[in-house]
């Protein structure tokens, strides 16, 4: 069982599953959750550090079981899990595959469902040059978290190229589980989720329409949704304080 796990703060454990941008110790969401008195445990999704890691993680089932194994290693059962976007898909799959792993679940703008009448946008052609337009309600206010640190890109001196390579590695891993349409059967499995679930969505999400929140609420037995105004897909950063308050309140219910 390989995999890098980032830990910040102290207190009861809270798992953060990151989006396609990856995660670092300096991630504003991680820091803000830690400030609420949690030990934030943020596993780096397999593939983000090296694509070799996902050679034999062939589909979302393998991926969900990889996280189940990881939770075993970390001694996590009935854990609180907060997740965003692609990480939301992983969290939902884990909670559907192995329901007892997840005690309370917060999904912010999760990937994983598809509607023909309101298809989510294709983020891959937008990467890297136009992706910010899709992610933010107001791209001019984009706040980029620091990119995940990679130290093992041999022979690359140019920091821009190194950053592009590490972002591409993450996007390649994400693509393995989302291509070409990120509907891998989650809707058929969501009825298995036992965790009380909060769905948070930016009302102005241009990547995945906020109406998908209704689909998650309908499919998960004990779920409710909160829409946040003036936020796009990056709702967790665009409305950081309000998102954290929502999460903190929900976890204490």
């Amino acid at each position: 069982m390989a995999g890098r796990v980032i830990r910040v703060g102290s207190g009861p454990p809270l798992v953060w599953l990151h989006n396609a941008g990856g995660v670092t110790e300096l991630d504003p969401v991680v820091l803000a959750l830690a400030d609420q008195g949690y030990e934030v445990i943020a596993p780096v999704c397999p593939g983000f550090d090296s694509l070799d890691e996902i050679d034999d993680i062939r589909d979302v089932h393998d991926l969900a079981l990889w996280y189940d194994d990881l939770f075993t290693d970390l001694g996590l059962d009935g854990a609180s899990v907060v997740a965003h976007s692609f990480g939301g898909m992983i969290a939902a799959e884990l909670a559907a595959h192995v329901p007892h792993r997840v005690g309370r679940l917060v999904l912010a703008a999760p990937v994983g469902l598809w509607r023909d009448d309101e298809p989510m946008a294709d983020m891959f052609p937008a990467f890297p040059l136009e992706i910010q337009d899709l992610l933010w309600a107001d791209p001019s206010k984009a706040v980029l978290p620091p990119p995940p640190a990679r130290t093992d890109i041999e022979g690359v001196d140019d920091p821009l190229l190194a950053m592009f390579l590490q972002m591409t590695t993450g996007m390649t891993a994400v693509g393995k589980f989302m291509w070409p349409i990120p509907d891998k059967g989650l809707r058929r499995r969501l009825h298995r989720v036992t965790a009380p679930t909060l769905i948070a969505w930016g009302a102005k999400d241009k990547l995945i329409p906020a109406s998908y929140a209704d689909d998650f609420v309908a499919a998960i037995p004990n779920a409710r949704a909160e829409l946040l105004d003036d936020a796009g897909h990056m709702v967790v950063l665009e409305r950081l304080d309000d998102f954290i308050s929502l999460v903190a309140g929900f976890l204490k219910e």
Binding site: I54, F124, T169, T172, K176, W179, P180
Partner: protein, 388 residues
């Protein structure tokens, strides 16, 4: 095999020639004539004594109208006698199961009497990941496994089970089998991927670089291929390699511009008008290749998007080799020597070029250029070409 009737304002009014161009731009009634014109041109070239005729596979685009090159190749197998049929090729990961290719290529080899060259491209990112929905992360792995399965299927003397990562078959036993033994020459069109060089050398496949941007862009790629050959202790037999080049032959350099400029500009300005977002899905290009900074063909196409491209630019940069026979011969010899390529594929039809100009170009090339190139590497044995 481009669609020659794109509107003059295509660049301004559409984002991409590939993946999502509106189907209303295609007219199937005109398309009937277009297909037969291209087939006539290929049969004509075969009759002029070209060693082979090539067809290739692309999807959902106005740049190449052959989603199935095998359909065209089957016509050529019947309408030609001596020219080899070079299918460049079938994008292996797009065939489910890949044994479909083992079957169809065997049919072509049998139909043509052993004249098939079996090309196995990965396929462009547009064709494979966006049009056919293949996952970029696994595309190359799936492709390699498919090629392995096809070659094994052609050689096996009895049915076998194949438990692959991407294909599972309880009984692999294609009928018919190819005439050429152990199998037809295998050509791999590559875009400069580091891994592909090694793979071709290790398996004795021909490596072909299909360039629309002249031999200077090809130089870096072919140098990489030959350095790999050196490292692996393999000879520099030029017939291990192929290269693609636009060529326009005329009485004089000035006449070449009159005859071909409009069509070349049509090709570069409209047929390569590609939305850059479709050019490099994450995972299509390996990290190793990105590190070396080799820009794939389609990325280069996406990057040229130069609305002010002129005929002079096209010729000066070597995208098209054009001019009098002596100009063309000199230039092509310089190219094949510099790249060390024994198999030169010439594109004599490009963009909107019609039947008359294309056949004229072919005739001039066959009469005045081809004889001066044919034996250029005569000291080497060509083991990558059908013997029959």
């Amino acid at each position: 095999m481009p669609w020659p009737h794109l509107p003059d304002d295509f660049r301004e009014t559409h984002r991409s020639v590939w993946v999502d161009p509106p189907p209303s731009l295609y007219d199937p009634v005109r398309g009937h004539g277009v297909y037969h014109e291209y087939l006539d041109e290929l049969v004509h070239a075969a009759s002029l004594g070209f060693d082979g005729v090539c067809v290739n596979e692309h999807h959902q685009n106005a740049y190449g109208l052959m989603p199935s090159p095998n359909l065209m190749a089957s016509i050529l197998a019947r309408e030609t006698e001596n020219a080899k049929i070079v299918v460049m090729g079938n994008s292996v990961a797009l065939y489910n199961p890949p044994t479909r290719i083992a079957e169809e290529f065997a049919m072509l080899d049998v139909l043509s009497g052993g004249r098939l060259v079996a090309g196995f491209p990965v396929g462009t990112p547009m064709d494979t990941t966006y049009c056919y929905g293949e996952t970029p992360a696994t595309l190359r792995d799936k492709y390699r496994e498919g090629v392995e399965l096809i070659l094994r299927a052609w050689q096996a003397e009895e049915a076998f089970a194949f438990n692959g990562k991407y294909t599972q078959l309880r009984y692999v036993n294609p009928w018919p089998r190819p005439i050429q033994k152990p199998y037809p020459p295998v050509w791999i069109p590559g875009g400069g991927s580091v891994e592909t060089w090694e793979w071709c050398i290790d398996n004795d496949f021909l490596y072909a670089y299909l360039s629309y941007f002249g031999y200077e862009s090809g130089k870096r790629v072919m140098d990489g291929f030959w350095e790999t050959a050196d490292q692996k202790g393999v000879d520099r037999n030029p017939y291990r390699a192929g290269f693609l080049q636009f060529v326009g032959v005329a009485d004089s350099d000035a006449q070449a511009e009159e005859l071909y400029a409009e069509h070349a500009l049509y090709f570069y300005n409209r047929c390569l008008h590609l939305f850059p977002g479709f050019a490099n899905p994450p995972g299509y290009t390996s990290l190793e290749t990105m590190k070396r900074g080799i820009i794939g063909q389609v990325q280069a196409a996406a990057q040229i998007r130069d609305p002010n491209l002129t005929w002079k630019d096209i010729v000066d940069r070597g995208y098209v080799v054009a001019g009098s026979p002596s100009t063309v011969v000199d230039r092509l010899l310089e190219i094949v020597d510099n790249l060390n390529v024994g198999h030169l594929m010439v594109l004599l039809q490009f963009g909107s070029m019609g039947r008359e100009a294309t056949m004229g170009n072919s005739e001039r090339f066959a009469a005045d250029v081809l004889p001066k190139l044919r034996d250029h590497f005569g000291d080497w044995e060509d083991k990558w070409w059908p013997a029959g």
